[in-house]
């Protein structure tokens, strides 16, 4: 499965894993926007992301903007080295709300 979504307290948690590339990012985008449709805070766990490209990052940016528009908390956590590298190159590491661990993210929503 592309994205595994679970509920933790009042937040939804999306676990992305493997290679989030042009083939898989439309599924990731859809899953994140669907989760935000429930108007619950959304935490995205990126610990298992071995690769992400600009299309995967674009899905995160779109979810981030949708969350802002509807004032839903949107937090990234446990960002893998591969994912952090791309966010830094795109200067998005200062835009997203990024927490070190899932527990930190859940405490912040």
């Amino acid at each position: 499965m592309t994205v595994d979504i679970s509920t933790r307290g009042n937040a939804a948690v999306a676990h992305l894993s493997g290679e989030v590339d042009l083939e898989r990012s439309p599924g990731v985008r859809r899953a994140l926007l669907d989760a935000l449709g429930r108007r619950m805070p959304l935490v995205v766990d990126l610990s298992q992301v071995s690769y992400i490209d600009s299309s995967g990052i674009a899905s995160l940016v779109e979810a981030y903007q949708t969350a802002r528009k509807q004032s839903t908390p949107f937090i990234l956590c446990a960002v893998s080295a591969a994912a952090l590298r791309v966010m830094q190159l795109a200067r998005l590491d200062k835009v997203f709300d990024i927490r070190p661990t899932l527990d930190d993210a859940l405490a912040a929503v």
């Binding site: 590339d21 042009l22 083939e23 690769y51 490209d53 990052i57 674009a58 903007q65 190159l89 795109a90």
Partner: protein
Amino acid sequence: MMASVLPDPTLLAHLRVAATPASLRMIRRVVREAALLAGAPEPWADDLMLAVDEACQNVVRHAYAGQPGDLCITLSRTPDGDGVAVEILDFAPTVDPSQVRGRDLDDVRPGGLGVHLIEALCEEAGFAAAPEGAGNLFRMVKRFANAAPQR
């Protein structure tokens, strides 16, 4: 028995695949292994892999824009052995290079990052003259010596 054709000693790999999203996984595997063959450390290989993925997905999404077509990637050692040169050839309609521009990074919105990533990760990147009968040729060079500038 026939005479052996002299191989190009700088060739790391030449790959031809359909220009589709599903081909990008294979492309990444080949780029990564080619970089390691050239002696690159793993993080360097991962960076080149990302840059080439971005250039190839632009061919899929923009140059072919959903039309079927092939994509050829040639990875070689640079003549000085100080890096890897990548040529990405397509058979799509000719692209106007002036239209190939990333978005302003401070204007946060989905998309428009591929060109930035390519330029941040490679010392050289741009279109070159495509051979007769082909579409577009995009050329990238990433060198070992100095870390790529973080634009």
